[in-house]
Amino acid sequence: MSSKRSILGKGLKAAALATAVTAASVSAQAAETIKVGLVAALSGQSAKSGEAITRGLSVAIDEINANGGVLGKQIELVRRDDESNPSRGLLAARELIQKEEVAVIFGGLDTPVSMALVPVMNQLKVPYMGTWAAGTAITHNGAEENYAFRVSAVDEIVDEALLRYSIKHYNTQKPGMMLINNPWGESNERGLMKAIESRDMPIAGLEKFESGDVDVVPQLTRLKEAGADTLYMVGNVSPSAQVVKSLDRMGWDVPIVSHWGPAGGRFSELAGPNADRVEFIQTFLFAPEGEDPKGDAVFAALQDKYPEIKTHADVTPAVGIANAYDAMHLVALAMEKAGTVEGPALREGFYAIDEYEGLIKTYSKPFTPENQDALGPDDYVFAHFVDGAIVPVSK
């Protein structure tokens, strides 16, 4: 009995010792790394966007860690799936901040998720860095101390860019709008109307369509009869393809200038031979090899890390990767400037960034308390599909 007890005692002691050693090593490890979080769609219809953001962040983190990390520590990425669902995203963000103690959270594709996260981030004083969702109100959230930053398109600025582009290239005088019937469409309705009203331009009409619409000929016919000379389109891949097919049936050859919805999935397969008619905005495209050394270097790093990437068509659309890549580097610079990863100081760190030569552009004073969006109207490129690949429009 006593021998049994002593064995048990020894075992317990050993276990306690082992636990202590493990705990010590874990805490030592925790102290050695700075955790950054990602809350994005890693499953469901938008899973590819989460994958692109992960790839962009990972390549940037590898570069930063190879150069000695930030503040002498390595960066570690912790990911959580929001399933494109705001309440899931909120739970994930709280867990990352309170349990994993991440210094910053990167956001994903879905505007509604980002909109749910931002008030909590402002309250908990942890910076939020948007890498994809374009909803204007994400960064323009009205908070006194705004912790939401973004390296991505902004609906309101995109809408202004769509007008500038179509007026320049198609001499637009009376545009018609085809907008998806959801909050994203509404966000752009406000932006487009603002841009149109500032020019005192008449409109041919504003039509909504559903993502399940098979035939949008009736909507388009209304716009055509009202004399639309350009179409502004906001919608995801599948509904945008239905617009192109309906135009095709009507035999109406009108310029289509679009938000970045078509830039994903199989737009050229779904929209058919006229897919190339749609000109949409992008924040970044990988240029042909040799034209952009920085782009070539990042693409090579991507290929090294993810062998399934063979050509530029395998990283379509490139915006998620490029936005996330630049966003991670800007976060690292903010940490260096702040000298700490404490939220309030880190937020000031963002404003202190002077210049960063990024993948999308060279950023100079990218963030100010008045403007927490690093990309502006001149940072968009217009692209279209040619043989299944996204290429810049040559105009």
Partner: protein, 289 residues
């Protein structure tokens, strides 16, 4: 503009009618409906796409196999989601078929993939001129097929032995059973017919639309509205209601704008049912006390 809307509307309307006929067929023989009709439509398109595009089978082989699989789906729904509840006099089949449809949609999401795909068809790539507006041949094929199938269904009902069996089951299941008609089998067949009709709708619409796991959801919902509107017990009623619903939908969109489409079409459904509670063409059922 009006002719273009009417053609669009007739095409969509026949889709609703095909799905709604499926509701009708099961309702008349068993007083139950399959709320997974939308998923049966989606399965028709997904099976067709997989067999034809992914596996490279010729179309004449891919289509019958897809329809056969859809029929098996209908049999399974009846056997596992309807019969266990209906035989006990429970209305549980209602929720069970809804749940079954959601389950299948999600299974397809995981197996077929998240991205919508395009079903290639020569009939949906070149347009023909009709009353001054361009239409795909596929768009004309849909109402033609819809009318043909509805007519076939009515002829079978009226002139064949199967039709007589169906009629007998509809009129008095107990008496039919005593006359040697295997009522459960008739009900099974009705469910298979209903999912095959939905699958045909799915195969017809796929080239105009895209193939994806959620393509049937909204269609299934609208088709049920159409079935109720037409008077679910009347096949011609369901057919006319489907075409009417599609045409009104397209005309409202074209004349008043898309913001009004759902508001006006569904308001009309409510008004129509308030005026004629048994549907536009339904007969009031006499309750024997």
């Amino acid at each position: 503009m009006i002719s273009a809307s009417i053609i669009s509307g007739l095409g969509l309307g026949s889709m609703y009618a095909l799905l709604a006929l499926g509701f009708h067929v099961t309702f008349i023989v068993s007083r139950t409906v399959n709320f997974a009709q939308g998923s049966a439509m989606m399965l028709g398109a997904v099976f067709g796409f997989t067999l034809y595009q992914t596996w490279g089978l010729p179309l004449w082989l891919a289509v019958p196999i897809a329809l056969m699989l859809a029929a098996i789906y209908g049999l399974a729904i009846e056997r596992f989601l309807v019969r266990p509840f209906a035989s006990r006099g429970s209305d549980g089949w209602l929720m069970a078929t809804v749940a079954g449809g959601i389950l299948v949609d999600n299974l397809v999401l995981f197996t077929f993939g998240k991205e919508p795909r395009q079903f290639p068809s020569d009939w949906a790539s070149s347009t023909v001129e009709l009353f001054g507006s361009g239409v795909y041949i596929q768009q004309l094929l849909i109402p033609a097929m819809g009318l043909l199938l509805a007519a076939a269904l009515m002829l079978v009902n009226r002139y064949t032995r199967l039709g007589k069996v169906l009629q007998a089951t509809v009129q008095n299941p107990d008496a039919a059973s005593l006359m040697g008609i295997r009522v459960p089998r008739v009900i099974s067949i009705a469910f298979a017919v209903s999912t095959v009709l939905a699958a045909i709708a799915g195969l017809l619409i796929a080239p105009l639309f895209s193939v994806s796991s959620d393509m049937g959801t909204l269609f299934g919902l609208k088709a049920f509205a159409v079935a109720i509107l037409g008077g679910i017990a009347s096949a011609p009623g369901v057919l006319v209601a489907g075409l009417l619903f599609g045409v009104i939908e397209a005309l409202v969109t074209a004349q008043l704008g898309s913001a009004f489409t759902q508001i006006i079409t569904f308001s009309l459904v409510i008004v129509a049912l308030a005026l004629r509670p048994d549907g536009l063409f339904g007969k009031r059922r006499l309750l024997k006390v």
